[in-house]
Symmetry: C2
Subunit: 476 residues, 2 copies
């Protein structure tokens, strides 16, 4: 081990092989569920250094935990507690290699912070649409590793759909340069999409060529009260029809989720606060327009008028200014914090075909109420993508910690069984990590699992890349 | 072999194991470059039958050539001439399993003809945007197997981006049901995108859940003369900015390509025919609008006005009616036929980042002229995706057949070397097939090739699925 550390120091420099001091930022997961102990945190500055580090680790039989901003929600980049694994942090690889305006693309290194890429694009008069809560700290490498989703997926897709090409260091320490910024390229198997979402278990993404888009001329946000989840889904269909690709955001919020925001963040002005208690769901709709604000407003108002007539909207407000639009989004984004203020809760990140969500919610709400009377559901999420954060909170006045200890297993079981029954996924956008390995074994098709194991074995026969993430550790 | 045929007959029925009579439609590739001889053509009617056929073939060590409409351009579904391979035709599996309007998706079997799916969507008031020359005969299974492109990619992406989930029969004859119609699903490796574009070498796609879109309220088509390829690329950028996601088609046509249409299809009214000789390139731009025809026309005219001012458009006409729009598209679509009328030619299906296409074309035109004085370039394609069909025709009056025999190797070498120099791909949308296996070995990265071989070996260790397609046959 000392010999390995010495060689790693020669590759990346003394200062970038961390073995002492406070390494909690690298060794603990974002939600503080797991704290590990690494052999060292290694911070290479270039693809060649990453490759050299991987070769040395492979020669030593030392496993590697690739890590970006370490903001993942599924414990996908935390070392175990053996003190034998190397955390390979990509954060020093944060160069923008080029911006190609005519090709609407840029090539960026894995350690670039997402928000800095959004800002860079904006400075160029372009849009990089990937947007999610952790954007101030997460890296594009982590976004790619987990195929991150976020709030703009209804129009622009997940991270996978935003990527044109990758640079990857393989488990053997070879460099695959797949950074061509091509929109069509049928030259063999789709390795790009295989690495995206593989959570560092097949190799290390060191750089990527990502799509850029024209900036919209105007963006409008509406907040609407709806009488039911069915109505929300109907409104989604109308918005697709009326706004076409102008529909860039479609979020749903349950009444209880909003009531927590009102309770714990009284400074936020939640529309229809007077109505609270009546409408069970609220939606936030975003319309991006390539023409003008006036045109956006006309289209948006025409849509809402139609929705009123249909009855799928009870009341609605369209933001009059950008700051008002930000306030509306801020309400939606404050739900997780408001929920935390109310106490610990059991989180889910599920997806179901939009058409089946109303029946799923009705069914699962009832099952949970039956099994745990008084349980409170903080249901919100990206309805446009069929993605709900269907979170479960202790009954009013209950002890949240005790609830978690005693009920988490049951609640997860009930929710995931219902998800399976409705043909959904137990992990929509947060990945599997180490947290949901058992869920993958249970709910993924055995045939698919067999193929995944075969691919892992084929590309990483030593099993050194992020072992125990996605797939169970191999018996050794 | 007799025993195998007997078992296959038991599975699919006597009538669907073809061993005699005229099997040319199954044994010869679309462009009639290769004629093989199969052991039998087997036509299963269900996924269970496909799986049973695969298991029997695997037990007998018999290799399988999956086949859809057999319209591929890269010899990807033709048996060899050994008489020992089974052609597995999916054409009887042509059911539409469901249409989910609220989820904007449908689940269809592999043998469905593309055009029938377009028509079905239209009847439902929806859009299935995949569109390409062979749509009247090609199947969705073949589109998925080759990750087909076509004319709407600039807005809707390739077949891969249109697919939500797959059902696949593995080389072991197991069935993977991955047909969830989810827009977010991060539960392990992306097997879906691995099978898409694998050209039947990893398993057999038997069904797919595909995205649907709202139908646009109006669609307008413009035909414009541009002073240079640089100008065409500049116009593309403006169209992205001005039309946003309304830009659904952006085709380029070289002057010589159009002159062939004028010469061989005098009944077609080509705009600016009087100008021919002057402007080197023409573009066809399609604008789809979710609002109205009037709105589409206003936006389109505003774009063209800007383009005139900029100088990137010399003259333009916007179709006044749907039939006029079809006529304009028909000109573009007639280029391959006009070219065939002029004589045999050497075809390419290349892609390059849009930003580098002007330099690529200038460079490669000059190289070809220097090496083969008088050579004629039929350059046209999907500029919006950076995809050119950069085809090469014998000098005026030359013997086309002799030209092909003597020059094809040199021409391919010069073109593909230039493509590589400009960071492009030698196969944009037609796949590798058996035709371009050597090109893949030469131009794909050795690291990528190593991973592809490892994946093939992992999923199809017997090497029975479409051997010799994409990757060279394994030495046995």
């Amino acid at each position: 081990m000392t010999a390995l550390l010495e060689r790693l120091r020669q590759i990346v420099g003394e200062a970038h092989v961390l073995t002492e001091g406070d390494l909690v930022a690298y060794e603990q997961d974002w939600r503080r569920r797991v704290r590990g102990k690494s052999l060292a945190v290694v911070r290479p500055a270039s693809t060649a250094e990453v490759a050299a580090v991987v070769r040395e680790c492979a020669a030593a039989g030392t496993s590697i935990i690739p890590q970006g901003g370490n903001t993942g929600l599924s414990v996908g980049s935390t070392p175990d507690d053996s003190g034998t694994q190397v955390v390979l942090s990509l954060t020093r690889m944060n160069a923008v290699r080029n911006i190609d305006r005519d090709n609407l693309s840029f090539t960026v290194e894995a350690g670039c912070i997402l928000q800095s890429l959004q800002e860079l694009a904006e400075k160029e008069g372009l849009l990089f649409p990937l947007s999610l809560a952790a954007e101030g700290s997460c890296t594009i490498g982590g976004n790619l590793g987990t195929n991150a989703g976020g709030t703009q997926v209804v129009r622009y897709g997940n991270t996978r759909e935003l990527c044109l090409g990758l640079e990857v260091v393989t488990p053997q320490g070879e460099i695959w340069d797949g950074l061509k910024g091509l929109r069509k390229d049928n030259t063999g198997y789709d390795l790009r999409d295989l690495f995206i979402g593989s959570e560092g278990t097949l190799g290390i993404i060191t750089a990527a060529t990502m799509k850029l888009f024209p900036q919209p001329a105007a963006q409008l946000t509406a907040f609407a009260a709806v009488p039911s989840m069915e109505a929300a889904v109907r409104l989604l269909g109308m918005a697709h029809q009326y706004l076409g690709a102008g529909l860039t955001g479609f979020e749903v919020m349950g009444q209880f989720a909003l009531s927590l925001v009102i309770k714990h963040m009284p400074q936020l002005r939640v529309p229809f606060a007077g109505l609270i208690g009546a409408p069970p769901y609220y939606v936030l709709v975003e319309n991006s327009d390539s023409e003008s604000e006036q045109h956006a407003r006309e289209r948006f108002e025409a849509l809402l008028e139609l929705a009123f007539e249909d009855g799928c909207v009870l009341d609605a407000v369209v933001a009059e200014s950008l700051s008002q639009a930000h306030e509306l989004w801020h309400i939606r984004e404050s739900i997780p914090l408001a929920q935390a203020e109310e106490g610990l809760n059991i989180k889910h990140d599920i997806s179901i075909a939009a058409s089946r969500i109303p029946a799923f919610v009705e069914h699962t709400d009832a099952v949970l109420q039956r099994e745990i009377p008084g349980v409170r559901l903080v249901n919100f999420g990206h309805l446009g993508d069929g993605n709900l954060h269907y979170n479960v909170q202790a009954p009013e006045g209950g002890d949240a910690k005790a609830f978690l200890n005693e009920r988490e297993h049951l609640v997860n079981h009930l929710v995931y069984e219902a998800v399976a029954e409705f043909g959904g996924s137990f992990s929509a956008e947060h990945g599997v990590g180490a947290l949901k390995v058992d869920k993958l074994q249970k709910y993924q098709s055995p045939v698919a699992l067999g193929m995944m194991r075969a691919i892992k074995q084929a590309l990483d026969p030593q099993g050194l890349m992020n072992p125990g993430c996605i797939l169970p550790r191999q018996a050794s």
